[in-house]
């Protein structure tokens, strides 16, 4: 038997690493990967709670989160490709002008 708390603590640690990645990295792709890591940490908490209370709803929410993440990645990577075409860089510090 593994305590539910361990799963929740692991989820919190993974979420924090993702948030830290968004804050300290300047490569737009890495920032985007960190966002995926945060979504994943939330999914882990969902499944852990769902398993603890013996309900399937949590697993279905994870299913929907995965579908939304797939859509988000497609749009986000399309935006990054467009930004790279305009600026020749994906450094977020370079994206400081209002009119591209």
């Amino acid at each position: 038997m593994v305590s539910l708390n361990y799963y929740i603590i692991l989820s919190a640690i993974l979420f924090t690493i993702g948030a830290l990645g968004v804050l300290i990295r300047r490569n737009a792709l890495i920032i985007f990967m960190s966002v995926e890591l945060m979504l994943n940490a939330a999914n882990l908490a969902f499944v852990a709670f769902s398993s603890a209370i013996q309900s399937l709803s949590g697993q279905l929410f994870v299913f929907f989160v995965i579908a939304v993440a797939a859509a988000e990645v497609a749009v986000g990577l399309g935006l990054i490709v467009e930004i790279f075409k305009a600026k020749r860089s994906i450094d977020v510090d370079q994206m400081s002008s209002l009119k591209g």
Partner: protein, 174 residues
């Protein structure tokens, strides 16, 4: 210390180490590969929690489709490495401090307040079979039918959005 707990701790160590590897790699391709390993580890956690369908969806959609898309874009742009040099010097230590505060606070609140039940039972052999997937489908197509349909619209909108975004503008000279 039970076998379950030892297994959990080893997997948790791998998950945190790969997440940190993703965060700290200089090269974006290494970051993406670390993240694939992290997603696979989380999929094993889902199996441990008795969610086989979600585990397989995690591997096919996250580790398969999404990360292949990431690797494809990294290689398309040739943007593995960015030049060094900081714009805001104080930003990095401040971010570290805030992240530690977030972790402590989130853990504290989760552990002390939002606790429905103490233990997660290890999945028995019957849990990782077709029966659990059938139960999941029952709930999905009865209770959550509308969100499921809305998801398909969302995917269609995302697809059309990306096509419009990437399409070259046709200039008409007359």
């Amino acid at each position: 210390m039970t076998l379950d707990l030892i297994f959990f701790l080893i997997l948790a160590l791998i998950a945190v180490a790969t997440a940190l590897g993703m965060l700290l790699s200089r090269n974006a391709i290494y970051s993406a590969l670390f993240l694939v390993l992290n997603f696979v580890t989380v999929a094993v956690f889902y199996l441990l929690l008795g969610a086989p369908f979600i585990a397989m969806a995690q591997i096919t959609v996250y580790a398969g489709a999404i990360m292949v898309l990431f690797l494809f874009v990294i290689m398309l742009l040739g943007a593995e490495n960015l030049p060094e040099g900081e714009v805001l010097r104080w930003q990095r230590p401040l971010a570290g401090l805030l992240a530690v505060a977030l972790a402590v606070e989130a853990t504290f609140i989760f552990v002390t307040r939002a606790r429905p039940a103490g233990e997660v039972a290890p999945p028995d052999a019957a849990m990782n079979t077709m029966t659990s997937i059938r139960d999941l489908a029952n709930v999905l197509f009865n209770q959550y039918l509308l969100p499921f349909e809305v998801t398909s619209v969302l995917l269609l909108v995302a697809m059309i959005g990306v096509i419009v975004l990437i399409r070259k503008e046709r200039r008409v000279f007359e």
